[in-house]
């Protein structure tokens, strides 16, 4: 039996998770529904005054996306952890870091990327001009993978722990601060007519760091949970 | 000596609330925490005694 290459392992995990997600369509819809719902709460509370809504839109939309992505973290490993699939993945001849990367990528495809696709609709609600909407999508496109990667660390560490849902939020939200600042800052800069280049590059740096350091931490978390 | 009288010292140049607010809360934290640790230590000793009882029984 030839040794399965790392890439095929990652692809395999992603395919499997997407299949699972496709079978129970509810999960991505939950995430999107939550995102739209939270984003529409603010006009109800702040008031419909367009200038004010435009002013708070970058922050509100980014926080709503961040919370939506965070909500589905719990389900990233939970199902596999309960029925023992996670154990078999860990024992597979493929490095756990690769398998974990596959799971994070699958999570991003299911509850990260859809946020990017839906964000223009919400941005229109807030009266954002086209170029700012484009910047919102770009910043979310770079930012949501970081949310999945860093969030997965929290998910792995709280596997099978009581009160896991809220606990993940407490562990992970402080670590989301840089991503939120740079992400929302990029959209804010574009809205103010400034050049968001710096914010985007720093956001990209966060992505690079997360992609490098998160998987080993996630794998360690999973291994600890499986002991 | 900076302070003319005890009253002046307590008034702290009009910032009494803020200065003493910080220092008293700091003093409270530095006093309460050791007490909590002491209580935790006594509780730990209880568990050891209980364990010993069970061991000898």
């Amino acid at each position: 039996m030839n040794e399965p290459s790392v890439v095929s392992a990652i692809a395999g995990v992603i395919r499997r998770d997407l299949l699972l997600a496709a079978r129970r369509k509810s999960e991505p819809l939950f995430t999107l529904g939550f995102f739209v719902l939270v984003a529409s709460l603010f006009p109800l509370s702040i008031g419909p005054e367009p200038e004010l809504l435009r002013r708070v839109a970058p922050g509100v939309l980014w926080v709503a996306a961040l919370l939506a992505a965070m909500l589905s973290l719990g389900r990233m490993f939970a199902a596999d952890y309960d029925d023992g699939t996670l154990e078999s993945i860990a024992l597979a001849p493929v490095p756990l870091v690769a398998a974990v990367l596959g799971k994070v990528a699958a999570h991003w495809l299911v509850s990260g990327f859809p946020l990017v696709v839906v964000s223009p609709l919400l941005a229109l609600q807030y009266g954002l001009p086209a170029d700012v909407i484009a910047m919102l999508m770009i910043s979310l496109l770079i930012g949501t993978p970081v949310l999945s990667l860093v969030g997965a660390i929290g998910a792995a560490l709280t596997l099978g722990v009581r009160g896991g849902g809220v606990l993940v939020a407490l562990l992970v939200l402080p670590l989301y601060v840089p991503t939120l600042i740079f992400g929302a800052g990029a959209v804010d800069a574009r809205l103010a007519g400034l050049d968001p280049g710096a914010n985007l590059s720093l956001l990209g740096a966060c992505l690079a760091l997360a992609a490098l350091f998160a998987p080993p931490a996630i794998a360690a978390g999973v291994r600890i949970a499986l002991e | 000596m900076i302070w003319g009288s005890a009253g002046e010292f307590l008034a702290m140049g009009g910032y009494a609330f803020y200065v003493w607010g910080s220092f008293l809360v700091a003093a409270a934290c530095l006093a309460v925490e050791p007490l909590l640790v002491g209580a935790r230590h006594r509780r730990a000793l209880q568990t050891v005694r209980a364990e010993r009882m069970r061991h000898e029984a």
Binding site: V161, L170 | I2, V19, V37
Partner: protein, 249 residues
């Protein structure tokens, strides 16, 4: 074989570290009390009134040492967590758990004194100053560590999971601080930094350093005392714990 081979791990086991920590705690407490008294004396009776802030600046003698300690203890906690994870030594993990509450307390103290200092100086209890904001995030990192540690029943797994979190946190602390600093300079209008490093008269500096040493010694004393309690909790079933004369009465 060098005759005087220092056995670094002699104090690695809870059994041999327990009495040592017990002897050290009183010493650190004594030094803390002495340097604390000296620091307060310099702070209140030697340091002159500040030109701009009048007497309000004296809060610096609590605020800055507490902020230093909160960051310092987080790094030490992450260090022991890392050592515990790498060498699988239970005592290092216990050290990390013992440090967390004291670190969180100092963070709270830094936030509290920062707010009370901000009110008279900048007119608002909460100022979105870069340092205060990062201190707030640090406070949540401590809470996250303690919550994770409390949520997992099996001590061994709690040690390792909390250790990973502490290491991830310590890598993020500078990043968070940089991003908040960056965010703060962008919205500079919103706030002014608290410690504009007023012309630090020598006495002010010595007062602050004395208080910093006092907080450090205090931290050592409390952490060692707490680690002793944790050791008893964890090792209650062992022989050495049962034979302790403290237990005997």
């Amino acid at each position: 074989m060098p005759s005087r081979l220092i056995n670094w791990f002699r104090f690695g086991s809870p059994q041999s570290f327990y009495p040592l920590a017990g002897r050290l705690v009183p010493w650190f407490t004594a030094i803390a009390v002495l340097t604390g008294a000296a620091g307060l004396w310099v702070g209140f009776f030697v340091a002159p009134t500040d030109a701009q802030q009048g007497e309000a600046y004296r809060i610096i003698f609590v605020h800055v040492p507490a902020a230093w300690m909160s960051m310092f203890l987080y790094v030490i906690m992450a260090f022991w967590a890392g050592v515990g994870l790498a060498f699988n030594t239970r005592l290092s993990a216990m050290m990390a758990h013992a440090i967390a509450p004291t670190g969180a307390m100092f963070t709270f103290l830094a936030l509290w004194s920062g707010a009370l200092w901000g009110r008279p100086t900048w007119g608002a209890y909460w100022v979105w100053d870069a340092r205060l904001t990062s201190e707030l995030v640090l406070f949540f990192l401590y809470l996250g560590y303690m919550a994770l540690n409390a949520a997992i029943d099996d001590p061994r797994r709690a040690d390792r999971a909390a250790a990973v979190l502490a290491l991830v946190g310590v890598v993020n602390v500078p990043i968070i601080y940089f991003s908040v600093q960056w965010w703060n300079t962008l919205h500079q209008g919103a706030s002014v930094s608290l410690t504009r490093a007023p012309s630090m008269a020598m006495t002010m500096l010595t007062g602050m350093l004395l208080m910093a040493i006092a907080f450090w010694m205090y931290g050592l004393a409390v952490v060692l005392a707490r680690v002793r309690a944790i050791m008893l909790e964890r090792e209650a079933h062992t022989d050495w714990a049962r034979e302790l004369k403290e237990v005997g009465q």
